[in-house]
């Protein structure tokens, strides 16, 4: 009765109403920011008195915005590559291995995901100040890698657990070397896991704010740090323009993921 859409009775309008309101609550702020980024009001009046592209112009001619976006992109790409490679190797060890403390090790690998980021941020900040990695690209990459790796291990381990190892063994029996069998048989079979590991790793680094606030130096900052620093001063519409571009990137990534999933299914 209550789990049959047509027999919900008077719960039906209630549920539909709440769901519609919640969907609007989740969607409208995002659309609102996109609309405001084209509005001419410096004070973000809505509905905007006129339309303009000047906030995008301000954003795209300011070398500091561009530099921070470029920094973010470089860090995110390096983190993605390292996170997927490390995630692959580690997941093979974790799923295939039969050693002591395997479950404990697995739990340790996932802890950075569940612990408050601020603790890691402060701890790494102190550590990097001492060893001279603060404000460097390496420092950023290491700290984002620590945060991204759990997602990578989780995605790839899931995929590997769903893969029948006897197929790999069959390839070895047919004359492939164990390494060759892994590259040519197993990797293609778990490519969906590798793909989500890459997407999650990229987003983890690209969107990361808390650690980045501590790692940043006046000469090296990521895009989220630039947004953060700007927001601490005022609510300029330039941030709306930057946010809209970030939202656009999210939509593109979602479409990409949907396409790849469809492609993998067929």
């Amino acid at each position: 009765m209550l789990l049959n859409f047509d027999r919900l009775g008077w719960w039906k309008p209630v549920l539909i109403g709440i769901t519609l309101l919640t969907t609007a609550f989740l969607l409208l702020p995002i659309l609102f920011i996109a609309a405001l980024s084209f509005g001419s009001s410096q004070w973000l009046i809505f509905p905007p008195p006129g339309w303009t592209l000047k906030w995008y112009q301000e954003l795209l001619v300011d070398p500091r915005w561009l530099a921070s976006a470029w920094t973010s992109f470089r860090i995110a790409i390096i983190v993605t590559v390292l996170s997927v490679l490390l995630g692959l190797v580690t997941s093979f060890g974790l799923t295939r291995g039969r050693f002591m403390f395997r479950e404990a090790l697995k739990a340790l690998f996932l802890t950075p995901m569940i612990l408050p980021v601020v603790v890691l941020a402060v701890a790494l900040y102190a550590f990097f100040l001492q060893i001279g990695l603060n404000g460097t690209l390496t420092g950023f990459v290491i700290s984002h890698l620590v945060l991204a790796l759990p997602f990578s291990i989780l995605s790839i381990t899931n995929a590997l657990e769903g893969f029948d190892k006897s197929i790999e063994d069959a390839a070895v029996l047919c004359g492939a070397s164990p390494f060759e069998a892994k590259i040519r048989v197993t990797l293609p079979a778990i490519s969906h896991g590798i793909f989500s590991a890459a997407i999650f790793s990229f987003l983890t680094s690209w969107d990361e704010v808390v650690v980045a606030i501590f790692m940043a130096s006046p000469t090296l900052q990521t895009l989220p740090v630039k947004v953060w620093a700007t927001l601490r001063q005022d609510l300029t519409p330039v941030v709306a323009a930057a946010s809209t571009l970030l939202i656009l990137l999210t939509v593109l990534l979602m479409v990409l993921v949907a396409f790849v999933r469809k492609g993998l299914k067929s």
Binding site: L3, F32, F99, P116, L120, A126, V209, V210, L231
Partner: protein, 291 residues
């Protein structure tokens, strides 16, 4: 065929065997990374809480003995509790609706949930800073509807933080809860109807109890995530209702007081780990993480 495997295995023994990596060896690079850049730095930070400026528990005495800091702890729990409560209140009906809706409509809602989840955190927080400001859309709308005469202070206070954080946490409660409700056998509710339960009784005495493990697990996860949240409270909250994560950042960044920063970090860590232990004990590992 078996003999070939054995032959291969036998062949790999001998001098070449030392070069072969065991499965455990494969986890060593990641383990090294985590120990060096996660375990060691956190351990050093916590050690500094009992060694700076003087060895002893002075920092903890100050942290737990001062009304200023206790207010921050209380506020952290209050905000997290409120956010969890509101998220559950909205999240349960949405998850329920998603589980019974025609799949076309459900996939639209899922797409919006994912879009919201994946949109940059700062962009989402910025949206609420603008929406809730004195001259913002929300105030204008409320005045336009004749509900209030003067704009309400909606930002830099508890209201702002609660709205902004609920916005961020909702998907984290809806998605796992959907999974749990989806797994409930509709026949059980049919049985309840056959036994004479009306729609209200079926909800309160059958559906809610069956969904309870999912609700408890989701609520605990949202509560723990909220406890350590930094960005949204810092931007939408005011100085009067600071949260623990901001306090830690402030100790370290503006006051350069590593002893107190470490002590506050330890308090946050202990509370977080204790709540996760509860989660593991009662709900198993399968619902942990963002799967």
């Amino acid at each position: 065929m078996l003999s070939r495997i054995e032959a291969k295995a036998a062949g790999s023994k001998g001098p070449a065997r030392r070069l072969r990596l065991t499965d455990f060896d494969l986890t060593l690079p990641a383990l090294g990374l985590l120990v060096l850049f996660f375990v060691v730095p956190v351990a050093i930070l916590l050690a500094r809480s009992v060694s700076e400026p003087v060895p002893g528990l002075g920092n903890y005495a100050e942290l737990l003995g001062s009304s200023t800091y206790l207010r921050i702890f209380a506020n952290t729990f209050l905000v997290s509790g409120l956010v969890t409560f509101v998220s559950l209140l909205i999240g349960f009906p949405v998850a329920w609706a998603l589980a019974v809706m025609p799949s076309r409509a459900a996939s639209v809602v899922f797409a919006i949930l994912l879009l919201s989840m994946w949109t940059n955190l700062l962009a989402r927080t910025y949206a609420w800073m603008v929406l809730l400001q004195r001259t913002g859309v929300v105030n204008k709308l409320l005045i336009g509807l004749g509900l209030i005469d003067k704009p309400l202070p909606l930002v830099n206070n508890l209201t702002g933080v609660t709205i902004g954080m609920t916005y961020i946490m909702l998907p984290f409660i809806i998605l796992p809860l959907y999974g749990v409700i989806r797994k409930i056998d509709p026949a059980i509710l049919q049985a309840a109807a056959l036994c004479g339960a009306n729609r209200w009784q079926a909800l309160v005495r059958v559906l809610l109890p069956l969904a309870m493990p999912g609700m408890a697990a989701g609520a605990l996860m949202v509560f723990v995530m909220s406890l350590g949240y930094f960005v949204t409270p810092a931007l939408l909250g005011g100085t009067a209702n600071m949260m623990l994560a901001e306090l830690i950042a402030q100790f370290v960044q503006s006051l350069v007081n590593w002893g107190m920063g470490g002590a506050a970090a330890l308090v946050l860590l202990v509370v977080t780990l204790a709540l996760y232990a509860v989660q593991l004990r009662f709900f198993g590992t399968d619902r942990m993480g963002g799967r």
